[in-house]
Symmetry: C2
Subunit: 193 residues, 2 copies
């Protein structure tokens, strides 16, 4: 049993590297099997198919990002900074999400997580009732735009993608900027007066 679990982990690690680099169509299952010291038969027994393996990898990393950057509706600037840092530490996740968008889910919601989504919009609605977020925005609008802003320098940025190799002061500049801009975004202009 311990061996099976160890193999499963090795497959997920190897599949993460392969899918993040090459996407779904470009990934080679036999390359993953070789890197994980597994074989195709064993991998298909665990994950069903290449698509099933991709789903397992995407879900694994989505969970890691949600753990690293949980929604804090009473502190959206802090939430945005945690998203920035989580993606900097785990750029593979946004790459996986990018491949999923380009190869699979062209329009609509990228992640089908109805329960998690409802919990997030409810938390934002509650923060709006407590006067912490502009109540004229929908919770959906708040969530989507704050995430978009936090992902300004993400691995799928259309302008500039950050890297962990950049100097600390560059990252710190972006964190401070995110704090200020997210606070502006979710606060009605006349709320400060």
């Amino acid at each position: 049993m311990r061996d099976a679990e160890a193999t499963r982990r090795r497959v997920l690690d190897a599949a993460t590297a392969e899918f993040a680099a090459r996407g779904i169509a470009g990934a080679r299952v036999d390359r993953i099997a070789a890197a994980a010291r597994s074989n195709k038969a064993q991998m298909y027994a665990y994950f069903g198919s290449k698509e099933g393996l991709f789903d397992a990898v995407l879900t694994l990393h989505l969970g890691r990002i949600l753990d690293a950057a949980p929604l804090t509706a009473d502190d959206l600037p802090g939430y945005a900074v945690r998203i920035y840092d989580a993606h900097l530490a785990n750029p593979g996740f946004v790459r996986l999400a990018g491949w999923a968008r380009l190869e699979r889910t062209g329009t609509g919601e990228l992640f089908e997580d109805a329960e998690g989504h409802a919990a997030k919009t409810a938390a934002i609605a509650e923060a709006q009732e407590h006067g912490l977020i502009d109540p004229s925005l929908t919770p959906e609008d708040v969530l989507q735009t704050v995430i978009a802003l936090a992902m300004t320098w993400s691995p799928i940025s259309a302008t500039y993608t950050a890297s962990a190799a950049e100097p600390d002061d560059v990252h710190e500049h972006r964190r401070q900027l995110l704090r200020r801009l997210v606070a502006r975004l979710v606060t009605a202009p006349d709320a400060s007066s």
Copy 2:
């Protein structure tokens, strides 16, 4: 000559569809040739290589987006709305940019257009001098975050991707939202008092 130009256009159209759908590695040059009623030899004579053809397609659509949504530093909310509408009308461009990011340019600037970039940051700096944009932000920060916000529902959105098939009132809601939020973003909170 007119025939050559017509063939070149057919190749670019066919290549746009193929690259937007499948990316660089996934695109098949013979499928593009067949769709364009051309052949590989002719295509390589025009574009040099598959990469060269991708570059030509990306440059073509970048030009179209820049024409449809020119930077108006004195009206950044309007700029953001035009970016939203341009991507809705031409979702292929953001898909091409997404493939370029995932398959080619992992970090740093996605588009190397030093001249265009310098003109944009200069225009923003001028608007800052005229009191139209918070002078405590760098022109770079303004450009990157406004574009990120305008691309909240883009074809590489990690949350929700818009589609032209959605009802008009949904698009109008997002346009109005962008106007308000971009205005907040680039205005210092105490500037309105």
